[in-house]
Homo-oligomer: 523 residues x 2
C-alpha cells in the first residue's frame, strides 16, 4: 500500500501586506501565494467565497490556513481560517455500498482518523439489490426518490460521525465517494436505466469533482466531492479505490484483488497491466452471499467451527454479543465446516443423516439450525435453508470461474499469482482456508492471502490526503481492461464445473484433497 | 480591429453508436468527440446537464449540436440540441456602465447581431456615481440591494432584447460582461469598500468564468458568464474589452485608446507594451462631464454649432426629436462653440456681454439658455450653469493631463501618437475638433482620430465569438502597466496649467491658435 503523505491540501500562507506599490486584489494575493505553495497550479474560488474573502483576510491579518482540493490540474479553495486556528479541517471518505455505507472522518492536515461510522444504504427500503433499484429509478419520481434517500441518509450519517468527532459538518472541506457504478449514478441523480440494457452504458465514466453544495451534501460551504470514476456499468469506483489502496497498479509482480461483497469483484494485474471483472456480469451472483444472513455488525456470526468429534458448533460473533444473524465470512466458514463435517455434500445439499437434530423442514424446504432459539438474540432459531446454500454454491462458483477466466485471459495460471488481496467491509473478513475449502478462492499457500479490510473506504481516504492520488485514480481508470463475461462463451461451461465443492476437478485443490484424506484416515 | 472568426464555440458532432465493443459512457462519448473537434481540450459537464444527457443523446440519435465555452484551458458544455436544429444558440454581450447598460444579442454560430438594447443602470436610484454606490454598499443590506438591482435590471433587459429577437432567454448559452471595477464588483456581490481606501484593493482581479445560474442571470441552464478582468480599482474590464476590440495590444505602431465616459480612461501602447490610466484617480473628474446633461438617447442634443455671424444656436438631437437634454458630445461641442463665440473665456467663465439675452442668473448663479422653453421637449428651458462649465473645465483638464502624463511617462510626445481611438457609447461620439478646441484632446491631425463606438460592448461581443479572445483577454490584463496618478507629484501642477481653454501653453494647440487668428482677422 502506497504511503499517503498527509496534509498536502492544507497550507498556511502569510501574504504580503497590501500597499500602494502592490495593490493586487485580495483574491489574487491569496491565490498567487497558494500557487507558489502548490507547485504552480492555479487556485479557483467560488463566488460566495470571493464575497467573504476580504473580511476573512483582514480579520486574520493576511495570515491564513487554507484548504484546497485538486480538480483537473487546478485547485479549488475549499476553506480559509486563521493561520493559528486550532479548528480541524476534515475530510470525509465514503464507501457507498449497495447494502452498507461506511464513512471515515479524517484530519486533512495529519491524516489522523477522527471517527468511523457505518449504516445501511437507506435505498434498501426500495429494494435489496442493484437491479430492483434501477427498475425503481425508471418509475415516475423513482430516481429522485432514490437520490434523496441516499443523500438524506448520508447527511444523517455525516451528522452522527461529526457528533462523534465533536466537529461541525461545516468543518468538512473535502469528500471522496467510492461506490459501484449504479450506486454512484443513483447518488448523483443520473439515470441508471441504460446500464442494464445492452450495450450497458453508464451516463458517465468520470463524474469528477463536484461541489458538495450541488450534491446537497452537508459539508463546508466550499467543500468538494471527488466521485471515483468507473470503467463501465459493472466495474465501479469502489474497485478503482481498492486498486489505489492495494497499490496493485504499481507493483512489479502480478497480484490479485478480490472483493467479495454483494458482487464478486476482481482485478488482476501489476504496474504494466490491469484486467478487471465483476460478478454482476455472471447471473449466478444476483443477490449474492448476503441473502443468507445479515450484514456485518454487532451480533453477527463471523466465524464458525464445527467440532469434528462432537459435532458441536462453535461460533464467534462481532462484539461477542448473542448471535442475531450471520455475515458473509460466517457463511463461508459455515459452508466449509458443514462440508468438512459431511453435513452438506459436494453439490452443497444438506445431508439429513449427518445433520441429525439440526435439520428442520418447513414448507418442504430443508433448513439447518445454526443457533437454537434459546441461544439467539432474536428469540427464534438462526437457520440456513437449502435455497441459500444453493445460492452460496452459485456465488462461490461464479467467483472461482471469474478468477479462472481472468487468469486464462492473460495467460496465467492461478497458482502463479503471488499475492491475493482480500477486501471485505466492517471487519467481516473471509478466512481464506474456508474460501479454499469450498472452492471459492484458488488453493494457494495461505501466506499469499492478505486481508486489506474495506479497500473501497481506504482508497477513498487516500484520495483525500495523498498528493498523487487524483492523478493515480485517473491513471488506474484509464489502464484497466474490463473483461465482459456476458460475451465469453466458455464462462458458463467453467461455471458448471465450479458448482461442486470444492470443484469437479479436485486436482485443483490439493490441500482440500489432502485434508479429506487425512480426516478419512482418522488423522 | 482583429478578425473575429465566429462559430468557434458551436460544434456539431456525430457520435459513434454505442455497442458491446464500445460501451464508453454517454458523457465521455460526447466529450471525446468534442475534444477532437476542439483541438484536444477537455470538456466539462454540469451535474444537471449530465442528468439530462442520456435522454437528449438518444432523442437526437447521437447527432448533436453543442455549444461550449472556454474556461481556463478547458471547455464547459453549455448546451445540447439536435444536429439539425434551427434554434439559434445566442450569446449576450453586456457593457455594464455606471450610468448606462448596453446589451447586444449575437448568433454564436455566425456572429450575426440579433438585437441591441440599452437601459439606465438601475443602481442610479441609489446614487449617480460610483462613490455614492460604494458608500451605500457599506450600509446594512446595501451591497445585496445594489447587486439585486443590477441583476434584476439585466434580467429585465434580457427579457426585452430576447423579445426583440424572438428568442427565449434560455437560448443564451454564453454571456460576456465588461464593466469598470466597481460595477463588476457590485454585479458579483463583492464588497467594494476596499477599492476606495488606500491602497485601493479590489476583491478580485480576474473574476473568470462563472455559471449564469450562480449569478442569477436569465439564460440557458448551463450558460457561462465571462466577467472581464480588471487591472485595479480604477482600471476595469470595460477598458480591457476596449483594448481587445481596438487591437491596440497587437499593433506595431503606438496608439492611444480614449474613453470619455463617466470617467476619463486612457490606454497608450502597442504590441510590446501597454500603459493605462483612469480619470477617477484624478479628483477633478468626480461626477464627470455627464453632470451637465443627460445620457445619450432620443432627444439628446449631440451636436452644437453657433453661427459666428448671427449667434444663432444650431442643434442636432438624437433621432431628430425636440431636445430634452444634452449628452457628452453635445456638451463638448457647446463648450467649444461658446469659447469660439467669446461667450465663455479662457477659464470657461460665462461672459455676460457676449451671452446677451441667453444669460440668466438664478440664486446668484449664472446660466446660459441653450434651448428656450418653447423649443424644448421638457416645457422648460435647457440651461447650462457656471458650476457645470467649471466641472467640464476640470474634466477636460484632467483628461489632457492624464494624456500628457502618460506620454511623458513612456518618453513620448503626444504628437508622435499615430492613431487615437475614441470610444463612446450610444452613438454619442465626441467631435475631435471640439475636443481639441477646448484642449481636452491633443492637437493632432483630425485623420488620426478614429471613432470606435462602444468599445467595451464590442470587446465583450468579441469574447463570445473569437476563438483567441479568452487567451488575449488574459494577456492584455497581464501586460498593462497601470499608472497611479495619486502618487504622481507633477500631476496637479500640469492639471492647473490645463485648466485653461485650450491650455496655458497655446503653442500646444497650433490649430486652435490659427483659427483664433483667422477669426480675429475677419477670415
Amino acid at each position: 500500500m502506497s504511503a499517503a503523505p498527509p496534509g498536502a491540501w492544507v497550507r498556511t500562507v502569510a501574504l504580503a501586506a497590501p500597499s500602494l506599490g502592490d495593490n493586487t486584489a485580495d483574491a489574487e494575493r491569496l491565490t498567487d501565494a497558494l500557487r507558489r505553495e502548490l507547485g504552480g497550479a492555479e487556485v479557483d474560488l467560488d463566488l460566495d467565497l470571493l464575497q467573504r474573502l476580504p473580511g476573512m483576510l483582514r480579520e486574520h491579518g493576511y495570515r491564513v490556513r487554507c484548504t484546497v482540493f485538486p480538480d483537473r490540474g487546478r485547485f479549488a479553495l475549499t476553506g480559509v481560517a486563521a493561520a493559528d486556528t486550532n479548528r480541524i479541517a476534515a475530510g470525509l471518505a465514503i464507501d457507498l455500498g449497495t447494502t452498507r455505507v461506511a464513512l471515515r472522518l479524517i484530519d486533512l492536515a495529519t491524516g489522523a482518523h477522527l471517527a468511523e461510522h457505518g449504516c445501511d444504504n437507506p435505498q434498501g427500503v426500495i429494494g435489496p439489490d442493484v437491479l430492483a433499484r434501477i427498475h425503481h429509478a425508471d418509475t415516475p419520481g423513482g430516481l429522485n426518490e432514490l437520490t434523496r434517500l441516499v443523500v438524506d441518509g448520508l447527511n444523517e450519517a455525516i451528522g452522527r460521525i461529526c457528533e462523534a468527532a465533536r466537529l461541525a459538518p461545516e468543518a468538512i472541506a473535502a469528500v471522496a465517494v467510492a461506490g459501484n457504478t449504479a450506486m454512484t449514478h443513483l447518488f448523483l441523480g443520473l439515470e441508471p436505466r441504460w446500464m442494464i440494457r445492452e450495450p450497458y452504458l453508464p451516463v458517465v465514466n468520470r463524474p469528477g469533482v463536484r461541489r458538495a453544495a450541488d450534491l446537497g451534501l452537508r459539508a463546508g460551504p466550499w467543500a468538494r466531492v471527488l466521485v471515483f470514476p468507473n470503467i463501465g456499468s459493472y466495474f465501479g469506483g469502489d474497485l478503482v479505490a481498492g486498486i489505489l489502496f492495494s497499490d496493485l497498479h504499481r507493483r512489479p509482480e502480478t497480484a490479485l484483488l478480490v472483493d467479495v461483497g454483494t458482487n464478486a469483484e476482481v482485478v488482476l494485474g501489476n504496474r504494466d497491466w490491469l484486467v478487471g471483472c465483476a460478478g454482476a456480469a455472471g447471473p449466478a451472483l444476483e443477490g449474492g452471499v448476503t441473502r443468507m444472513g445479515m450484514t456485518a455488525g454487532p451480533g453477527a456470526v463471523d466465524r464458525v467451527a464445527i467440532d469434528p468429534a462432537s459435532g458441536e458448533f462453535r461460533l464467534r460473533t462481532i462484539g461477542g454479543l448473542p448471535p442475531r444473524g450471520i455475515c458473509g465470512s460466517g457463511v463461508i466458514d459455515l459452508a466449509a465446516q458443514l462440508f468438512r463435517a459431511g453435513m452438506i455434500d459436494v453439490r452443497g445439499k444438506l445431508v439429513p443423516p449427518a445433520c441429525g437434530a439440526r435439520l428442520r423442514v418447513v414448507d418442504g424446504i430443508r433448513y439447518l439450525v445454526v443457533v437454537p432459539a434459546a441461544e439467539s438474540a432474536t428469540g427464534g432459531p438462526l437457520m440456513v435453508g437449502q435455497p441459500e446454500l444453493d445460492s452460496l454454491v452459485r456465488s462461490k462458483a461464479a467467483m472461482y470461474t471469474i478468477l479462472e477466466t481472468l487468469a486464462l485471459t492473460v495467460g496465467l495460471r492461478l497458482e502463479d499469482i503471488g499475492t491475493v488481496f482480500v477486501a471485505g467491509a466492517f471487519g467481516c473478513l473471509i478466512d481464506p482456508r474456508s474460501a479454499i475449502a469450498i472452492g471459492m478462492l484458488p488453493d494457494l499457500p495461505l501466506e499469499r492471502y492478505v486481508p486489506i479490510g474495506n479497500s473501497s473506504l481506504e482508497g477513498a481516504a487516500m484520495a483525500l490526503t495523498a498528493a498523487a492520488a487524483p492523478a493515480e485514480i485517473d491513471r488506474i481508470r484509464d489502464r484497466i481492461t474490463y473483461l465482459e463475461l456476458n460475451v465469453n462463451p466458455e464462462f458458463m461451461q467453467r461455471f458448471s464445473a465450479a458448482k461442486f465443492l470444492p470443484h469437479t476437478d479436485l486436482g485443483r485443490f490439493p490441500s482440500v484433497g489432502r485434508e479429506q484424506l487425512n480426516r478419512h484416515s482418522g488423522a
